[in-house]
Amino acid sequence: MSNIEPRKQHESAIGHVTGKATYTDDQRQPVGMLSLYPVLSPHAKARILNRDLTAAQAIPGVVTILLPEDIPGENDTGPIAHDEPLLPTDTVNYWGQPVAWVVGETEAAARQGAERVFVEYEPLDAVLSIPQAIAMESFHNSPQVCRRSDPDTALKTAPHVLEGEVEMNGQDHFYLETQTSWVVPDLEGNYLVYASTQHPTETQHIVARVLGVPSNRVVVTCLRMGGGFGGKESQANPMAAAAAIAAAKTGRPVRVRLRRHHDMMITGKRHGYLGRYRVGFDAEGKLLALDLALYSDGGWSLDLSPPVLLRAMLHADNAYYIPHMEVRGQIAKTNRVSNTAFRGFGGPQGMIVIEDIVDRVARSLNLPPEVVRERNFYHGEGETNTTHYGQELVDNRLMRVWQSVQAQAQFVDRKAAIAEFNQANPYKKRGIAVTPVKFGISFNKKTYNQAGALILIYTDGSIQLNHGGTEMGQGLHTKMLQVAAKALGVSLERFRMMPTSTDKVPNSSATAASSGADLNGQAVKDACETLKQRLAPVATKLLALDTPEEMVFADNWVYCRTYPSARVAFDEVVQAAYNDRVSLSATGFYRTPNIYWDPETYKGRPFYYFAYGAAVSEVEIDGFTGTFKLRQVDIVHDVGESLNPLVDKGQIEGGFVQGMGWLTMEELVWDAQGRLRTHAPSTYKIPTVSEIPDKFSVTLLERAAQDGTIYGSKAVGEPPFMLAMSVREAMRAAIAAFGDNPTYVPLALPATPEATLRAIDGLSAATSLEAAQPASSGVL
């Protein structure tokens, strides 16, 4: 008996009898494309009492207006929890939340229409900060706990104990291309979605969910993005979903392209965090115990907050061995944008807390911070080289990057010169600092650590390359072409890189977690190996040899390793393979081996490996204005055996500068009504070319090939972001120089000129206040 279900009817039967089967000439080009424009909530939290569309509908060019009742499927775009209505039915939960989308013949008509949609609200009390959420017990989840040994006892017996708080700002992604999608319905119930998304598969799922259709009816394609940085992982979905609803309702192609200020008002950002700690240490500055409560601002819906929190908790050690440690984490539920992935994914928030602590420990003992940092590094084997979640570092490269960057930067000499400068200059002070980075590579969610590829060779020897990753400027497509060319032994110009599309490589993971090249590269290589296995016997036959085992593919030729002078051109092998009826297309697949995680015990081996780096920054602070100048930056970063040094250096520089922006200038200001006051580049300052240090030297760690990765390379997208911690620590050093050897230099984040001035003013106060600092533990 056959297992194949007998075909019931012609697959297009319904289309043929209803006239809905479209043919080539019936296809609609996106001329006559409609535009979407959002109607935004003016309240952080309010009940929707009434919507009046009459005036808007009267505007010429307004085609229709999308309300919750227009959503044929589920009114939800949440990537993890289903707690995120695409359009709210009764309550708005943040200022700027779209409550309706106006569909217009033009963007101008839609915009005019949006101004005439009148919604009546009853404002409600909103939760507008993490402390307020803690006080009101407004959380998305229960406290998460990761514990090593016995911190309670260790804190009781530690010679020195300090406690304190570190609070940090979120960060707007400010990808230069705002969120954009367009959707073409084919009138047979299928949808082509072109979206600027880092996660085409998830966009496909969410669009299918809101339309109430199976995933196979939705194809999502991403050509490339004008920047992503995590902001187009889940945040791209609601816009694509709204466009799809409009396309379903009108039967016409629809596009949405957020205006900059709308993008900044509507979409989630990096999570702000609050860390409250107690740290125990000895007279040498060795960390003995840490008790840390981390609260993140999740915003109104859950989004990706749990894995972001997990990564923050798993990076609260940065490079330091802490024998007794407990990290608790909880996600505050506030009436703000739903915060999301952003380069580092919680890692920076966890790491900045421990760097703040280590500097404080050092100053409280009057020891140089770099000495205390080094003393606490993971080292040796076993216990002292194992993280609080039980993963051993194995190939620990901390000391290598640490020593090389200090040598490159001439750290010792410059530190002495800076001390002299500071002696001589009462109003300008310089500071220098070196900080390490250890960053775990792999998606925390094991499932996501898989990737696919599809390679199509045509009979003329030209090749199409598909893989599941998206291109957002990180050079992934370039690297994948390099991998494919190397693996197949052919030149790059044979390839056409295809746009990422869910009908070519299905069930792909987000291009995120720095994993794009690691995962997709292996999948591409796997597809190439399959093709070579098929082509080798063909070449063997052409060369009249016996066995295909020893065939080498290189420089567009195929030959036997032991007899290289007899060779046959790749093109010829391809043509012969076609003639012999050998398949010339292949998929490739990869899943990361040897990773596991136990969410109950918070122990495991969640990361395939760690990336390491270290940076030295020198700043000069003007004591009158609080402004700083970044004088010099030296970086040594471990990218393994680089697939493309130019691309990797670009990633390191870009990550560093973006991190510097977060720590020193990008201030999100929310007012008492929960309105974001910094929603344009005029008020939200990202680094310009003028803030790039004059001396900026980036070195890739040498002899660094990593075992078990694609051609020995390592992930590079996120880890360099945290190298910018050296800027903040250098600023704290410079601020300290304004005082008299202060034992603590608190510095608000971001360290804007105002914050810096306050830090200078507060120097003497901080020392005396320290003893009286309120006990802040015990909330979790």
Binding site: E177, G226, R260, E653, S682, T688, I692
Partner: protein, 241 residues
């Protein structure tokens, strides 16, 4: 001649004043109102130009050497005409508020933010967009230098950066000063233009990917200050075959 000397002094002074400061404290080149090239236009009879226009009106623009006529409302920006009407989508919209530089194009050789310029005001001027920089297959030297120095990542700011860089070169050639020029009577020259000058003159163009080092290096290369790096040359050869 007195009038000549007055003109040249006036030019550099106007150029200097033409630098407006953004909220970020960075200089941008102000829109055409302060441009000396518009002096001739200013002398034309203004009667027709000030007639109130109702609804849509035909506007003829010279873009990349080609004449285009579009029927638009007077309030439509040059950026929207380029992108939405003429399919010249190389010019990008980053903010639409004159705050990011993604929409930078050249008008009579000077840079403007096309999102802040009304299309109707550009009649009779010569507009160059990123699409108009290549001659046949030949890249403009600035375009080539951006590739050779890895002056981009996502590429979204790049058309604006390249147009701004070309304008920068023109401005330096004409002896234009910037906000960091120490001595206005001795404006900097191409070969010795400092990094600080380059940065100041490009600070109206944001790059979120921070390909800034590559952008500065590209400009230095075109200024004749540095040769392309060997690594870059290899990469360009590999990538372009």
């Amino acid at each position: 001649m007195p009038s000549d000397s007055r003109k040249s002094l006036g030019t550099s002074r106007r150029r200097f004043l033409g630098q407006a400061l953004t909220a970020a404290g960075t200089a941008i080149v102000a829109p055409k109102v302060l441009d000396p090239n518009s002096a001739a236009e200013a002398q034309q009879p203004l009667v027709n130009r000030h007639l109130p226009i109702q609804g849509e009106t035909p506007v003829t623009l010279m873009i990349n050497g080609q004449s285009h006529t579009v029927t638009i409302e007077p309030r439509v920006t040059l950026l929207d005409v380029l992108r939405e009407r003429l399919n010249l989508t190389g010019t990008k919209k980053g903010c639409d508020h004159g705050q990011c530089g993604a929409c930078t194009v050249l008008v009579n050789g000077d840079r403007i933010y096309s999102c802040l310029a009304l299309a109707i005001m550009q009649e009779g001027r010569s507009i160059t967009t990123i699409e108009g920089l290549t001659t046949g297959e030949q890249l403009h030297p600035v375009q080539a230098a951006f590739i050779e120095n890895d002056g981009f990542q996502c590429g979204y700011c790049t058309p604006g950066q390249i147009c701004a860089s070309i304008a920068l070169l023109n401005e330096v050639k004409r002896g234009g000063a910037s906000a960091v020029t120490a001595d206005l009577t001795h404006p900097p020259e191409s070969l010795t233009l400092s990094e600080a000058e380059i940065k100041e003159r490009l600070s109206g163009n944001l790059c979120r990917c921070s390909a800034y080092n590559g952008i500065v290096a590209a400009v230095q290369q075109v200024l004749g200050q540095t040769p392309p790096s060997p690594a870059a040359t290899i990469l360009v050869q590999e990538m372009t075959g």
